[in-house]
């Protein structure tokens, strides 16, 4: 049980995929202008990531390994991820049209979010079992969600502030991201994963 907890805390805080491993930076910068959109993106990514981590594990364990087709891993995983993303897109379109509008192109682009493929491949590399894979995927997604929402909240405030002209726009965003990253580095040593 504690193992699972360690994986969870490890992926959310100490080895946060965005701020420590620097994966998934594109949505982190581009979908963080509004708090509500960030929440939606976080939710969608959590769904996709958990599901694709589980499905990738199952495909690998019961299809690729028995058939000795491990060299097809990346390809198969991308197929799985693309399907999950498509599925999510349809569900979101039906259930929350506004979120669908707001997420726009970023919803299909979850497929190219490096975290998603990263988690699937890391699960194999770390030889996680079924439960561990699921929790690893879920934790990575929650970590992504957490920093995305925090960052969006910060950016909403920064947008209202008097920022010196040279720092307006992208520069202050990157500086903020850097400071947040340093803050998350502070979690290192909380537990050893």
């Amino acid at each position: 049980m504690t193992e699972y907890l360690f994986i969870l805390i490890g992926t959310i805080l100490t080895n946060n995929f965005v701020l420590v491993k620097f994966l998934g930076l594109c949505p982190f910068i581009s979908v963080s202008t509004r708090f509500e959109t960030a929440m939606g993106m976080g939710l969608a990514t959590t769904f996709v990531l958990t599901l694709s981590a589980v499905l990738s594990y199952l495909t690998d364990e019961y299809l690729l390994v028995p058939l000795q087709l491990e060299f097809l891993r990346t390809m198969t995983f991308i197929l799985v991820i693309a399907v999950v993303v498509q599925f999510t897109e349809m569900v979101v379109h039906k259930t929350s049209p506004i979120l669908y509008q707001a997420l726009g192109i970023f919803l299909p682009l979850i497929a190219t979010n490096c975290i998603v493929l990263g988690v699937a491949l890391l699960n194999v590399q770390e030889q996680h079992n079924f439960m561990e894979s699921a929790i690893y995927g879920f934790g990575a997604a929650v970590g992504f969600w957490l920093v995305l929402v925090l960052f969006a909240a910060v950016r909403e405030r920064v947008a209202l502030a008097d920022v010196p002209l040279v720092f307006k726009g992208a520069p202050i965003t990157l500086i903020t991201a850097g400071i947040m990253s340093m803050a998350f580095m502070g979690f290192a040593g909380l537990i050893k994963v």
């Binding site: 509004r34 959109t37 495909t59 299809l63 058939l67 087709l69 097809l72 390809m75 198969t76 197929l79 799985v80 399907v83 498509q86 599925f87 349809m90 569900v91 379109h93 039906k94 049209p97 506004i98 509008q101 707001a102 726009g104």
Partner: protein, 178 residues
């Protein structure tokens, strides 16, 4: 080699069937955001956006056929509200010289009115009261100031006048304007 192709083919077939089922199961009927776009429009039904009313314009926005800066009566605030709601880039309004549109009210010069009912038919919100050959008048509370009645009047007896300033309609100005 065959195994590889076969495995990928079967896997793709299963996923394809799954997605096909989902697309039927979660079919989106109509465009649910139209009503919400419509609720951001001023409902003057003036047609200045080149659509015949606010709802058709909302439909056009939802289908990405038209920019969000076409509503002149709504002015900048409506455009910004739409931009925010739809998460699109704000676009400056095109024509108007005035940034904040003043609300207008149609006034019928009752002595000149010949009772032709043309304005009654033109009014999109039924705010003109009258009968054939009897003089007409505007229900000031319901008038949206769309100006559609002005053009149709054969004797030019309808004028647009700004809504008079009253205490209840007065707003505190922005501190930088004091």
């Amino acid at each position: 080699m065959l195994l590889t192709i076969g495995m990928l083919g079967i896997l793709s077939l299963i996923f394809g069937l799954l997605l096909g089922y989902t697309s039927v199961r979660f079919k989106v009927e109509g465009n649910p955001i139209i009503e919400q776009i419509n609720s951001h429009l001023p409902q003057m039904q003036c047609g200045k956006c080149s659509y015949i009313g606010c709802h058709p314009y909302a439909e056009a926005i939802a289908n990405n056929e038209v920019a969000i800066n076409q509503c002149l009566p709504g002015g900048e605030s409506t455009m910004l509200a739409l931009a925010r709601f739809l998460d699109r880039e704000p676009i400056p309004l095109e024509a108007p010289e005035e940034v904040v549109p003043t609300k207008l009210l149609a006034i019928i010069d009752e002595t000149a009115c010949i009772g032709c009912t043309k304005c009654i038919q033109a009014c999109p919100v039924d705010a003109i009261l009258g009968a054939p050959k009897w003089m007409h008048t505007v229900i000031a509370q319901e008038c949206t100031g769309c100006e559609l009645c002005v053009i149709v009047c054969p004797v030019d007896c309808i004028k647009m006048a700004p809504v008079p300033a009253t205490l209840s309609r007065w707003k505190w100005p922005h501190p930088s304007q004091i």
